[in-house]
Symmetry: C2
Subunit: 158 residues, 2 copies
Amino acid sequence: MLFMFKKRDNIKEVEEGKYFSPKFDEKGLIPVVTTDFKTGGILMHGYMNREALKRTIETKEAHYWSRSREKVWHKGQVSGFIQKIKEIRVDDDQDSLWLTVDIGNGSSCHVGYRSCFYRSIPLGKINNDEAIEIKFEEKVKVFDPSKVYKDEPNPTKL
Amino acid sequence: MLFMFKKRDNIKEVEEGKYFSPKFDEKGLIPVVTTDFKTGGILMHGYMNREALKRTIETKEAHYWSRSREKVWHKGQVSGFIQKIKEIRVDDDQDSLWLTVDIGNGSSCHVGYRSCFYRSIPLGKINNDEAIEIKFEEKVKVFDPSKVYKDEPNPTKL
C-alpha cells in the first residue's frame, strides 16, 4: 500500500475524515464513473488500479485499467479523445470514484457514440419468456470506429 | 439464465443490437450508477443481481444488491428515500447500468448527504510519502443518520 492512499483504519475516518483512502477490490481495482462536463451525462463506467489513479491525479488526464488489454490505458491515446479532468470525487465508503471530464466535441465510446450509454431499457412488467428490446437514445455516431481504430482489437468481451 | 435477459451470443449484437443482454460478473452482479434527475449529479454507485434488476424495471423503484447485507435491497425502505426511476440506460458492452432517479428533496447517502460523492480529490503532483487530503463539497446533511437508521448496522466496510 502506498502512503499517499491512507490505510483504511476505521469507518468514521473513511466516511467523514479528511484523507483519501480508496478501496481497491481483490483484483486491485476501483470502479470509476465518468461524466461529461459539457452535457452532465454519464460517458462511461470503467476501472482504475493504483497506478492509473495516480497518473490521473497527476497528469489531469483520465487513465484507466483496461480489463480486456490488462494494462493501464491513457484514454484517447489511439482515438485522440483525451479526457481532461475537471474534478474527481470519491463516495462515502471510498470504494468508487466519479470523474468529471472535458472531451470537447469528442466521444468516449469505442462504438462511435459520444456516451457509452446510448441505449435505454423500457420500464414496466417483464415477460419472462421474451427478450427485452432496448431503445437507441443517441442516433448519430461522432466518429467512424473502423477508421479511427483500424486494426485495434475490440475491447468488448462476451 | 432467464430469457428476458438475452444470451450474449456475439459482440456486434451486444453493442449495436436491439436486445438487453446485461453481463453479470462472477458474483452475479452488474455495477449501477445512479444520477439525480433534479441536479444531474451522481448520487451513488451500487450493484444489482438479476432479481434486483428485474424488480427495478417492473416496480420503477430502484432495488440493489447489498454486498454488506447480502440481500436485495429496496433503496429507501428504511430511510423513506425511495428512488423513483426516470430512465435506465445500458452501456456499449452491456456490463454496467445508468439509472436516472427522482428522490425529491431527499438523500441517497446513508451518511446523511444528498449524494454519496460529497468529497473531491485535489489534482496535481502527489507526494508519495504524504496522505492526500480531500475536500468536502457538500457541507450540509439532508438528514441525521442516527435518527433515521437507529440500530441498523453501518453498511460501510473497511
